[in-house]
Symmetry: D3
Subunit: 291 residues, 6 copies
Amino acid sequence: MYFHDKRLQYPVKVETPDPLFARQLQQAIGGVEGELRVCLQYFFQAWGNRSPNTKYRDMLLHTATEEIGHIEMLATAVALNLENAPLSLQESTAAANPVVNAVMGGERPRHMVEGMLHKHLLSTGLAAFPGNADGAPFDCSHVYASGNLAADMFANITAEATGRTLAVRLYNAAHDPGMKDMLSFLIARDTMHQQQWLAVIEELGGPAAQLPIPNSFDQSLENREFSYVFAGTDRNGEPPPEGRFTQGPSLDGKGQFSAKQAEPLGAAPVLGAARQGSGAQTEQMDATSSA
Amino acid sequence: MYFHDKRLQYPVKVETPDPLFARQLQQAIGGVEGELRVCLQYFFQAWGNRSPNTKYRDMLLHTATEEIGHIEMLATAVALNLENAPLSLQESTAAANPVVNAVMGGERPRHMVEGMLHKHLLSTGLAAFPGNADGAPFDCSHVYASGNLAADMFANITAEATGRTLAVRLYNAAHDPGMKDMLSFLIARDTMHQQQWLAVIEELGGPAAQLPIPNSFDQSLENREFSYVFAGTDRNGEPPPEGRFTQGPSLDGKGQFSAKQAEPLGAAPVLGAARQGSGAQTEQMDATSSA
Amino acid sequence: MYFHDKRLQYPVKVETPDPLFARQLQQAIGGVEGELRVCLQYFFQAWGNRSPNTKYRDMLLHTATEEIGHIEMLATAVALNLENAPLSLQESTAAANPVVNAVMGGERPRHMVEGMLHKHLLSTGLAAFPGNADGAPFDCSHVYASGNLAADMFANITAEATGRTLAVRLYNAAHDPGMKDMLSFLIARDTMHQQQWLAVIEELGGPAAQLPIPNSFDQSLENREFSYVFAGTDRNGEPPPEGRFTQGPSLDGKGQFSAKQAEPLGAAPVLGAARQGSGAQTEQMDATSSA
Amino acid sequence: MYFHDKRLQYPVKVETPDPLFARQLQQAIGGVEGELRVCLQYFFQAWGNRSPNTKYRDMLLHTATEEIGHIEMLATAVALNLENAPLSLQESTAAANPVVNAVMGGERPRHMVEGMLHKHLLSTGLAAFPGNADGAPFDCSHVYASGNLAADMFANITAEATGRTLAVRLYNAAHDPGMKDMLSFLIARDTMHQQQWLAVIEELGGPAAQLPIPNSFDQSLENREFSYVFAGTDRNGEPPPEGRFTQGPSLDGKGQFSAKQAEPLGAAPVLGAARQGSGAQTEQMDATSSA
Amino acid sequence: MYFHDKRLQYPVKVETPDPLFARQLQQAIGGVEGELRVCLQYFFQAWGNRSPNTKYRDMLLHTATEEIGHIEMLATAVALNLENAPLSLQESTAAANPVVNAVMGGERPRHMVEGMLHKHLLSTGLAAFPGNADGAPFDCSHVYASGNLAADMFANITAEATGRTLAVRLYNAAHDPGMKDMLSFLIARDTMHQQQWLAVIEELGGPAAQLPIPNSFDQSLENREFSYVFAGTDRNGEPPPEGRFTQGPSLDGKGQFSAKQAEPLGAAPVLGAARQGSGAQTEQMDATSSA
Amino acid sequence: MYFHDKRLQYPVKVETPDPLFARQLQQAIGGVEGELRVCLQYFFQAWGNRSPNTKYRDMLLHTATEEIGHIEMLATAVALNLENAPLSLQESTAAANPVVNAVMGGERPRHMVEGMLHKHLLSTGLAAFPGNADGAPFDCSHVYASGNLAADMFANITAEATGRTLAVRLYNAAHDPGMKDMLSFLIARDTMHQQQWLAVIEELGGPAAQLPIPNSFDQSLENREFSYVFAGTDRNGEPPPEGRFTQGPSLDGKGQFSAKQAEPLGAAPVLGAARQGSGAQTEQMDATSSA
């Protein structure tokens, strides 16, 4: 079960509220690359973890819980960036705030209503919501918890890689020192989280031991003629670029890479004609299918 | 641009059509772990690839194009498994197919309408559609193409890891030899595809060179005090499990792992009161905010 | 504005409630092919109709309003089919209704909970909802109202064609005489609605006058070399099948059909390298892009 | 920020695993009526709470945090109900578990694969996911946080009312004593949560003080002729049923209820014709709109 | 069944078309707080209403039917606000309409294309669609019809509370007198609709009789030790704020409120290890699970 | 199976990159009217085509394959329009590009960040994604493949009609000669594609032979009293507008059009009261339903 402390994990301060940046921050809350996703992903991986020991379940719970606090920090940052946002176009046009103008080059605040996310004004009362920078709600199909530990670790590295990429883009777009400071913390946490999921793979023997995923499937049942060959699909048979993936031992140590032009091994498919009663046109049915 | 050959990449044969297995196969077409996802993912990564050279763009195009053929194989398999599926409950109840019954233990076909996906009967005329085993349409937010090459490679490993896990589960659930043969091919291709995306990371120097992602961000700008420390969130301060992620050098060679209990460093947040005109209740407004 | 009469447009009677058929009927309410879609589609086409006269706006309002009554009929049919549905597995197992059993071959009601839609039991209290047979809510992106009258008429023919196809499939799957009677009415209305939208195209001069849609675009601005040629994409240059679409005058009377193998006319695309600050990997950037 | 204790808020035990009940429990995790929704709803209401004091923010944080633990309990219950679920149809058919059969009347386990949610088998490895009983992912547009305290309290009462209704339906459908015990706890918590949100409304003066919501809007600006009249829309002018809503003082004490047949007060709308360049058909344009 | 009158329920006039306001109005059509939602919600509650008498069914039908007319008014308002909207950036830049400029302060129309919703230009031909201000289609999972009358009434109060909050925000953002007049009518109708659903609760005895919802569940089956206690989850045991919800009789008169720190009553969960054939990694399986 | 050629089907050139136009082009990739939809639609129609001969399957494969190349062209166009897009507001404000300004009237580039799609900056690294101009991902429920050939052909005409309408709107909005040239090609292909699907209908005998769809249903089973009558729903009985749809022979030659005011033929529906155990309020249950 869970507990809270009403203080934030790290300070969140905004000197110059910017409703456009509030919008961009939403991506880090409810975007595919955002904190809501990793939070729920780690929780569901933990709660469904099947294993003879509970080490990784425990580890996941620590980090999942940390992530709630990151959502909280970002939601706070969104609300602070929406302080004094214009409630109407007129207000926006009238309020030529000279301080902000000086910072931004004297051009920006006049059109803030056009740039900001209407949902912030119309639906949330100048606060954050669990959706992305386009206003789209987060959809939990992005919570990856496959029941396979190695697949989940790679999913987590991916989530933190896209998460840190987003945080870096936001850092580069930010102009407020408080926002840059908050992002410097979140970027550091993403650095660690990329590391820790990769460390699990390493601890379990690295790709050589863990791949192909799932490693519990007897590879003699797969058609091994096709297991380590790069398939070229250039129409004229131009070979694929040479690389680590076309030659040398495979990274799991179980095969040798090669490259080969793909050619059809199957026939053109033949489906049965439409049947009476199936809602097709008569022309789709066999002359003899009247029964 | 693109070309087709009307033959299949690999043979698809079904001896005993099974509408329930048709349903399960849909997950491999339009599920999050499915072929439609990887196909579009590799295409959009290729089409948006920014780099001084086009090596990975070209490589991605080869494999993306291959994946169209996998969707085609699975769609064919779905249609073949739906041959002679019951069009009504009565037909289902009546058609006690003794051959299938013998295979399955004499119990199954009577209730096939209940088990099959209604969309196959009501909406597609006994054919496949681009959705999953629950009938949910594929949603292209699962096409990950971040503009960051390393993040995309990890996303691709993840996609192929969950894809092969799904294919293995389908293999285990299958009873038709044609279906097992088709899956033994698709599993082998997933083996290779896991390898090839990992090989790109290796070719670029491995995690040490590629992490933290994005590696183009100057790490002196992140708050490095928090970059390699595992944050414990146990309420009673019970430390996290020890592992590769709590000690030793970090996997990018840029830090030392440690573990530490997380404590709030920020204050409880204070938001401005609701403003006149913002649609809040009067009680949410400052007594002095009448302007 | 709108008014109601609490009586139904056509009688809805169910002799033998069938929770599985209740599930299938949901497709006709909230499926892509369903009545909720056409209702909203005709309303939004009417409300947004731009034209010097209001003839088609008026016509659309008549039919849109009729469709509300069709949703009502189907929602009533769903509720009637859920009368006495089992509220638990035990109830389902115990209630071996001999009357239904006789009709269905003595096998069905024992497993009704497994076959029925759980949402009917858990979320609606044995009533209809605006979603499809898989429980997915209707999503209004399927309401097609393009602002182009001819495009909308074709969209409407499509909607009624898939709608009648669905109704026919339900008719074939139904076993209750009341349900067959209700569907015989809805199928007839779909017959008419297909006709009436096609009649608008005819009234405006038929495809020759209305195509290409939009007909207000000056065709001299399109690249007419490609306007009436079927493009073959067979990898080996095998020509497409011959048909009305490869020879003879085009159906708009503005060109001659032909067929031709497609070949690339453009170059391989070259995108700029990733820029500093864009969140890419360093390897994606030009050596010279340090600024 | 947040902390965890690896023990559950309340015991979760399953004597007889039932994959069909696992499916039904998903509705309480990721359904519209489920715990994920209330958890996120209370968090976002807290994090965005604007008010001169923080009382309700604090209160919301306590309960939001509690709700994480409810999701955890249910996710655990799902996983326990999936222990030993069949991985294939053959396994399902073969494993005629006599113990379960005795409980259920000897009929159930043979078809378990058909009844269970395929996602549990194919996508999660026999564990819970953040979606509902039909496999649909939770969509965060159901997280209601409007920025208006009273509207949010009514949204919360609604969420807990539908939540307890669902929990009661699950209790009635359950047959395992451990599951009934867990649900008797969750139902009790829903009882309290309904109360506590209603108590906020009461504490603020009840509906008389809080309605109409938002109470900060000057009612002299609304068209008060229509503020307390029930509008009848029967086609024949048959009056609406009499009730508390057609007579007597309004519940906010600011008007008198009445009922009246609605009649159109506006004209038929007239939109401008389609313009050149807007993609409409020529027939939709004014003869004179050639510019 | 249903009928229409081609006149509007209330006049809709726009003096100065504003494509940005057209965008904001979409939220009142197809947003979660919008008219499409309440319209369908009341219809589905009516059509599925189970009760010994039909009073509330009838009442719901009256209001559901009224709501179609509100969508119609708003759709008309959107179309009128899009009259003469720019079809391209050049047109937008060139058309420095001095009249509008005078009203708005001389700054706005130049960038209208950037501010307006692209869907209005690209997809609807300058008309409304059933989606929100961000262009997201309305999703019918927001149509709440639970089969429980009291839960539905609270859902309706919520819908009208957020609906009126939205209408007030639009009123405050509007600058056109015709739009303010239309909204003054819609706000008044929302006032009434909030009242009428609350009146149903009152008529049935108020919260004391109706709570806990569902009131048909025997409370002796819930774990009453937890039914009226506010659970504190502060990590340091700091008690929750005192309020009506922590002391005094409960609002249903069936208990006494109290507050208590929550502590785990359950154990840490233990799930079975992954099984052979379940697609997990070998490391997740028991050494002994080879069967 | 499938093959690629790394060259584009038609040249794609951008002289003056415009991030706002990049946004608008997304609609042609991942909008409902876009190329991703037709590509997948034709593929799934082909792969599921049931018919005694494979002519239309083959034809569909040719065109489906062509459409991949159109997505590729548009994705390339989006990326080229995003070259040098501003990565922050400051960059946008500072970079008053005099060349672009001269073209656009000196007003545009200063606010480009506000107008561009944030996903292009934050999530894709200045590249295309499979979603629309509002950032919403493409949802494959828009892939229409009904199993009925004629319904599918009308769906295809609709898709190409809305597709060409969109392309024309983009052409009118474009200012770059390269973009106009690319669109002149895509518009021409849409012209042909509209034609070719219509030609299939013609080849099969036209509407007279193909309607009502499905033409395999025995019309004597539909309630033919309602098959060719336009139903008026004006509240006052004002007749519908006269047109081709109210008089003369029907277009399928199987009936005569007429018009008639709709009147209720059914009774007001009566549903059973709520049952014990169904989660309703006690007031919804029969006094006698205690069992």
